[in-house]
């Protein structure tokens, strides 16, 4: 093969925690390039990059560019006006404060949750895991209503003064993003080789010390990954912020929505989009740098390393129990309760009404469910297919500084769709994908494509920690023993990737099921998805419509829990690559 193959691995990262002697000479250059030439990587990256370029970069650039053209000439006047407005800075500060607090809360509560739900075994664990992952994909409008009902003076938590407060918003953000941290960190934690911890314990370190010096550093890549993701979600969270924050809180995202859809003030929207892009890029660069510093090859165990709960786990168990029951389950119970509430007391009337006669709806809820499933399958196919390519490429570690920089940039670019307003993308579609051969504006395909774009970063972030944690010595050993690049991929990387894959598929499918923002711009009224129908129902007067919206939301939540539970259950856990 070629001489460059080895440059993709750094010697530093190949050693375990930097302390174990490197057993092989990595720079001998005599054996097969591990995993193929740069061209092979380029090919694996080409399709996802082309996809992102056509369905994201081009539309967004085209729309933002229009904001800089006033009367046919380039102008910065609109941008300057927006940047000079105190309102803009107030919104920027609020966006930032909400995102930072939401991320902190999710990480602080999520890491103990990852331990309890992924490192320990106890009866009902699968159910607990599934329950924890439901909030993430619930439509924001439903969550907003569920929380508002709890926070309102007449609600169960009415006495706490959470209505229209920053605390209320942060609680809702944690509700949504808790499972991102739990799952991302948990996936790595459940396979962390316990011997380093055991060694530290044997040498006399206390539990806290082991946690701080051995376990958490080892989990750092996953924690940083999850934190970056949660920060992006929080910074662009928008429906829920407005519903719960009342009118005193706004985000850049709401402002872009308002300037674009209601005023068509493209210069202002462009300025805000650039601001949003800046915030997102800076956070991605910081997170990327944090990850890079921390990243190392971990010794992962082939099978999950789990053990029953012990007495010393009590603090973590109590905390996680409180979070799951108090923060996650309580709003959902309120939702379920309202789905059974009818004019004649509790009953199944709302569920019965879901089957609806054709006269009441353009489509019945069951048809919407079928649409959601079909769209979800297509979106998952796209997201996971592209995500595998991206993660695979990103899991390589170039030795050269420019090479690493390119990798970091590519990594960050694929996260961008999470942080850019769906409004900007949606309006961008209209002015770019409007001519043959790409006249997709009224095509059903745009929906799964848009959903896949939202799910792609999630798929990548789920797969990457596992792939990156593969000890490069495995590649080296395989290559030294004569395995070609294809064989290395098939025998080393694939089994690892498969483990993350179940979860990635689950996340992608669940994201598609619950996605509302981008979908609402593209949805066709004759083929709406379930969240779109819920949104329509909730916007109609009358207790029957509201009850049906609640029942449909419960249906969506149950479906999501099933998908996540199934993804976990069928995820191949017994693959042993050693």
């Amino acid at each position: 093969m070629n001489q460059n193959g080895d440059r993709y691995f750094s010697v530093r990262q190949a050693s375990l925690n930097g302390k174990v002697p490197v057993p092989f000479s990595f720079r001998s250059g005599g054996h097969h390039g591990v995993g193929g030439s740069p061209w092979a990587w380029a090919a694996a990256a080409a399709l996802p990059i082309a996809f992102l370029a056509v369905f994201f970069v081009w539309p967004v650039t085209a729309l933002v560019a229009r904001g800089f053209v006033v009367d046919g000439r380039w102008s910065l006047a609109g941008v300057q006006e927006v940047l000079a407005a105190p309102r803009t800075w107030r919104i920027l500060t609020q966006t930032f404060a909400q995102a930072v607090l939401g991320t902190l809360g999710s990480v602080l509560l999520g890491v103990p949750g990852a331990y309890v739900l992924y490192r320990c075994t106890f009866p009902g664990r699968r159910l607990a895991r599934a329950v924890a992952s439901v909030p993430f994909v619930l439509p924001t409008v439903v969550v907003g209503v569920a929380f508002s009902a709890l926070f309102a003076p007449s609600g169960a938590l009415g006495g706490l003064g959470l209505q229209e407060s920053l605390a209320g918003i942060v609680i809702a953000l944690v509700f949504f993003n808790y499972s991102v941290v739990v799952r991302t960190v948990g996936a790595l934690w459940s396979r962390l080789d316990p011997r380093a911890e055991d060694a530290a314990r044997t040498l006399g370190a206390g539990r806290i010390r082991v946690l701080a010096t051995v376990t958490l550093p080892a989990l750092a890549p996953a924690i940083a990954s999850a934190a970056a993701l949660v920060f992006l979600f929080c910074a662009s969270a928008f429906g829920v912020v407005l519903v719960l924050g009342g009118q005193s809180y706004g985000t850049i995202e709401t402002e872009i929505w308002y300037q674009t859809t209601q005023l068509l003030d493209l210069p202002a929207a462009a300025a805000l989009s650039m601001l949003q892009l800046l915030v997102v890029s800076v956070s991605l660069i910081l997170a990327g740098a944090a990850r890079t510093r921390q990243e190392r090859a971990l010794r992962l165990s082939g099978n999950p390393v789990e053990r029953p709960l012990r007495g010393s786990d009590l603090p973590a168990v109590l905390l996680t129990g409180t979070v799951v029951l108090g923060l996650l389950v309580a709003p959902m119970v309120s939702l379920v309760w309202r789905s059974f509430a009818t004019a004649d007391g509790l009953g199944l009337a709302n569920y019965v009404a879901l089957s609806g006669d054709a006269g009441q709806f353009t489509v019945s809820v069951w048809q919407a469910l079928a649409n959601s499933l079909a769209t979800g399958l297509a979106a998952t196919g796209i997201a996971v297919g592209l995500g595998l390519g991206v993660s695979y490429v990103l899991s390589r570690r170039p030795a050269s500084v420019p090479g690493r920089r390119v990798m970091r940039t590519v990594d960050a670019v694929f996260m961008l769709p999470l942080g850019v307003s769906a409004v900007t993308v949606g309006f961008g579609f209209l002015i770019t994908l409007n001519r043959p051969p790409l006249d997709l504006r009224s095509s059903w395909l745009l929906i799964p494509i848009a959903q896949a774009m939202v799910a792609l970063p999630l798929v990548v972030r789920t797969l990457l920690p596992t792939l990156r944690a593969i000890d490069p010595r495995l590649h080296e050993a395989a290559a030294t023993l004569g395995a070609g690049p294809g064989r290395v991929v098939a025998t080393i990387d694939a089994p690892f990737a498969l483990r993350g894959l179940g979860l990635a598929v689950g996340f992608a499918f669940a994201t598609s099921l619950g996605e509302f923002g981008a979908t609402s711009f593209l949805a066709r009224p004759d083929r709406p998805t379930l969240p779109v129908v819920i949104f329509q129902l909730i916007g109609r007067p009358g207790a029957e419509n509201f009850g049906m919206a609640m029942a449909a939301s419960v249906l969506l939540a149950v479906l999501t829990a099933l998908v996540m539970g199934l993804a976990e259950w069928i995820g191949p856990r017994q693959v042993n690559p050693w």
């Binding site: 009902a149 009118q247 307003s421 504006r441 509302f516 009224p525 007067p541």
Partner: protein, 351 residues
């Protein structure tokens, strides 16, 4: 993102007989207007707001009768629809649009996204709802946005139900009203228009400042206001006064609409300038005026049909308020000042 106007009946508009003369400058002067050569193709793309809903069988019948493959596109609320149409004027997203309301009608007409069409099926009496003197937009339905009261609450407390906009400023109604933000909600915009119409350009901001001093609560959209904050709905909130529709009491019987606080929204359909299928677009406008569709509008879209001969559902006849004298604002004024009013309102009420 999901901040979108949350009501069924997006629209706001106003019956404004003779507010604008038949000025030839409105509407698009494009070739599409030439009546001699209307375009036609096998597909028909209908652009609507996201509250569009009609019986499946009715829609299927339209498709089979005309022989078109009919595609429906609903990119969002009325603001999103109008602004997307303006953005894509050079390569229109569809052939016909339904759901433009009269707070956006002025902008749509001025931007030249519509071509002229006078439907022969416009029912007698419906011309009163016309947007302007041109034939750019055809009225399809209307709804009155009014303050609604939870009558049970007022009976229990022994307080009289307020009647007028000025009543809402009285101390006995402090902290009782919830309204929608006009920037994010079309009933919110309609209520803002009602205050402009009643208090004038010079007085509406002072009215709102007084309303704010009397504890008005602002919700994002209709859902948050009506189903969460309002005490008369299933949400059992803590505010017995809410901005909603005159027809809302048909669904919550223990409520009533205050008929002196109403602003009339009218929803229109129009043929898009540069449509690939103008023949089909015109047929669709006629279809929306047919008895079958007009009769479905109350139950499907919660608006009143423009056809006065259509029989309303029984609950509507019994509970919905009849608004004889809504507060009016000329369409042209709405189109020109909408954004400025919202900005001024935001500065005064939200800060």
């Amino acid at each position: 993102m999901s901040i979108r106007r949350s009501l069924v009946a997006v629209a706001a508009a106003l019956a404004l007989a003779g507010c604008a003369g038949p000025t030839a400058s409105t509407g698009s002067p494009s070739a599409a207007d030439t009546p001699s050569a209307p375009t036609e193709s096998k597909t028909l793309t209908v652009v609507t707001h996201d509250s569009f809903a009609l019986d499946k069988a009715t829609l299927a019948a339209f498709a089979s009768e005309t022989g078109y493959e009919v595609k429906y596109v609903s990119p969002g609320d009325v603001g999103t629809v109008v602004n997307q149409l303006i953005l894509t004027k050079d390569a229109p997203m569809g052939d016909v649009v339904y759901g433009i309301d009269n707070t956006f009608a002025g902008r749509a007409i001025d931007a030249g996204i519509l071509s002229q069409y006078a439907s022969p099926d416009l029912p007698k009496g419906a011309e009163a709802y016309a947007a302007d003197g041109s034939n750019s937009l055809t009225p399809i339905d209307y709804g009155d946005v009014c303050v609604n009261a939870d009558t049970t609450w007022f009976t229990d407390k022994g307080v009289a139900v307020p009647q007028t906009l000025d009543d809402l400023l009285k101390p006995e109604y402090k902290d009782l009203l919830v309204v929608e933000n006009p920037a994010t909600s079309s009933p919110g915009m309609a209520f803002l228009a009602a205050t402009v119409g009643a208090k004038g350009e010079d007085g509406y901001l002072d009215y709102w400042k007084a309303l704010k001093a009397n504890g008005v609560k602002v919700a994002k959209g209709w859902t948050e206001a009506y189903t969460v904050a309002f005490s008369g709905s299933s949400g059992k909130g803590d505010r017995p006064l809410v901005v909603s529709y005159s027809s809302s009491p048909a669904y919550e019987h223990a409520t009533q609409a205050l008929t002196q606080t109403c602003f009339r929204q009218v929803e229109y359909a129009g043929v898009l300038a540069g449509a690939q299928n103008e023949v089909g677009a015109r047929k669709f406008v006629d279809f929306l005026l047919s008895k079958d569709v007009q009769a479905q509008i109350p139950e499907q879209m919660y608006m009143d049909p423009v056809d006065p001969d259509v029989t309303l559902p029984a609950d509507w006849a019994t509970y919905a308020a009849v608004v004889t004298d809504p507060i009016e604002v000329p369409t042209a004024e709405l189109g020109a000042n909408r954004d400025a009013w919202i900005k001024a309102w935001t500065a005064a009420v939200i800060g």
